[in-house]
């Protein structure tokens, strides 16, 4: 009896620490590879070199500036893509003829890889932030558009009848029925979009730019400054992870009814 609860407790502790153990193990292996000189240091630098580099760019302000530049591109691109997808998705869900008209363009944009058409966007929108924002917005656009259409189309007809029988105005139906009913699927779209927005911004920065973590990676690579590349990559991972976390928190608070309903 006691043994079982003890073992269960141990297992619980283990599960909580498992990710950190994994991380620690990875750094350990990395350090070993470095110490055994499997690869030259400019290919695989020591973990501590990366840490030192991190401190240096943090102190000289470069890390901060480039991170902010990327973060702005990501957020503005995300919001722009979301707004576009939400409004267009809603319009399409309500007027099927719009879908017939727009679907060739939408499918074409979705089928072409971003990396392929991003140079075009730089030509059209310049090498400033706008081309990055447009790239981010486009990559965010499609999944959010699809989720909006599905979410609005799946509003139960029986609830629409209910709203109608209670004389709800179109605005009331929109705010009290359509938005909350589509919210779960909108939230899963937002989770995908938030991560994609980071990719969009970095792709834009790779093509041509003078600021941002994508620019920093390009620069560091050309100087064989592998620790700096790693610092920038880790920073990007952090941004993506943070965004995902924020969206998850938002989802938890907006959809708390779902978790309570699923308990039984």
């Amino acid at each position: 009896m006691n043994l079982i609860t003890d073992r269960r407790r141990l297992l619980m502790h283990l599960r909580r620490f498992a990710p950190w153990l994994m991380l620690f193990g990875l750094v350990l292996v990395w350090q070993l590879i470095y110490m055994l000189r499997v690869y030259p240091p400019f290919i695989i630098p020591a973990p501590v070199d990366v840490l030192v580099k991190f401190r240096d760019v943090l102190l000289d302000g470069r890390l901060f500036n480039h991170t902010i530049a990327t973060l702005v591109n990501v957020l503005v691109g995300l919001v722009a893509g979301l707004l576009l997808a939400l409004t267009l998705g809603y319009a399409i869900a309500k007027t099927p003829i719009l879908e017939d008209i727009l679907s060739p363009i939408i499918v074409a944009i979705q089928s072409a890889p971003v990396v392929a058409y991003a140079p075009l966007l730089v030509i059209w929108f310049g090498s400033g932030p706008s081309s990055k924002i447009v790239t981010g917005a486009l990559i965010v656009f499609f999944p959010m558009l699809m989720n909006t259409i599905v979410g609005i189309r799946n509003v139960p007809a029986s609830l629409k009848d209910l709203m109608r029988s209670m004389q709800a105005t179109p605005w009331q139906t929109f705010t009290r029925l359509e938005i909350p009913s589509a919210m779960p699927i909108l939230m899963s779209g937002l989770k995908i979009s938030a991560t994609l927005a980071v990719i969009g911004a970095v792709v834009g920065e790779f093509i041509s730019s003078n600021a941002g973590l994508g620019f920093l990676i390009n620069l560091a690579r050309s100087q064989y400054d592998t620790p700096l590349v790693l610092v920038a990559v880790l920073m990007l991972t952090l941004i993506a992870r943070l965004l995902y976390g924020v969206v998850s928190l938002l989802e938890r608070s907006l959809l708390s009814w779902q978790r309570r309903s699923q308990r039984n």
Partner: protein, 259 residues
């Protein structure tokens, strides 16, 4: 007094699954006086829900007209409240928020409408501990009671109830039947209620309309003249038994296979 409902040669049909048209209802003609309580009885699929939807202005008849106080019903009216066959609650709203929804749409202040909803809970047989529960946490019968609350809070002149007590156990069902009878006695609304339960119909109704199989037509119009207020025990009386026999005979006629 208002709440006068009339049907004139109402016919409803749907596109049939294999093409062509599927006649679902009618023609039916009837007249429900203001303040009258009418129960609709009939075999499954005979068009009762369809008729309720037409009277509620949610769908237009294929032929014929329905009138509310002399004007053609073409859209939902604020005087009419409709309770659907399924509880139709919004899963993201709590019990109170679901009940208060009609008041929210009318622009009633939050404190006021939540208070009004809370007042209804005991009469619906819902404990206060469920006020903030979500529909996903309720049983089917409790969900139906919440739906009834959402109808009653509108204090309509006409109540259209489509099998409101389908998912309730026998005892709760009796209790809520009595509660509904009280509400009706106090407010004197016009009620049109679909049910499959003969005793319930006799207890509640001034008149019972029995429908044939699809497409449903009215095959019997049985007045229930038992004195009011009626109680559950009345269902053991001779007079009650006679009405029940009459209704059962009509219902049997509607189900030729079982007759």
């Amino acid at each position: 007094m208002t709440g006068h409902i009339t049907g004139r040669n109402l016919v409803a049909s749907y596109p049939a699954p294999g093409g062509g048209i599927l006649p679902a209802l009618g023609p039916v003609s009837f007249d429900v006086a203001p303040g009258e309580f009418v129960c609709l009885l009939g075999p499954s699929g005979c068009g009762k829900s369809t008729l309720i939807r037409i009277l509620g202005g949610l769908q237009l008849p294929s032929q014929g007209q329905a009138f509310l106080d002399g004007s053609l019903i073409t859209q939902p009216s604020p005087q009419v409240a409709l309770m659907f066959q399924e509880s139709n609650l919004m899963p993201w709203r709590t019990v109170l928020q679901n009940i208060a929804l009609p008041l929210e749409l009318k622009g009633v202040e939050k404190v006021e409408r939540m208070e009004a909803a809370r007042h209804l809970l005991p009469g619906l047989g819902l404990g206060a501990e469920f006020a903030d529960a979500y529909p996903g946490e309720l049983s089917g019968g409790m969900a139906q009671r919440v739906a009834l609350g959402r109808v009653l809070i509108q204090r309509p002149e006409v109540l259209l109830l489509d099998e409101p007590f389908g998912a309730l156990d026998a005892l709760t069902r009796e209790q809520i039947t009595l509660d509904l009878m009280q509400v009706w006695a106090a407010e004197q609304q016009t009620v049109i209620m679909v049910t499959h339960n003969i005793n319930e119909a006799i207890l509640l109704a001034d008149r019972i309309l029995v429908f044939s199989q699809r497409p449903g037509r009215i095959i019997a119009n049985i007045p229930v003249t038992l004195p009011r207020p009626r109680r559950i025990d009345d269902s053991y009386s001779d007079a009650f038994g006679q009405v029940a026999q009459q209704v059962r005979a009509a219902v049997r006629q509607a189900h030729p296979v079982m007759g």
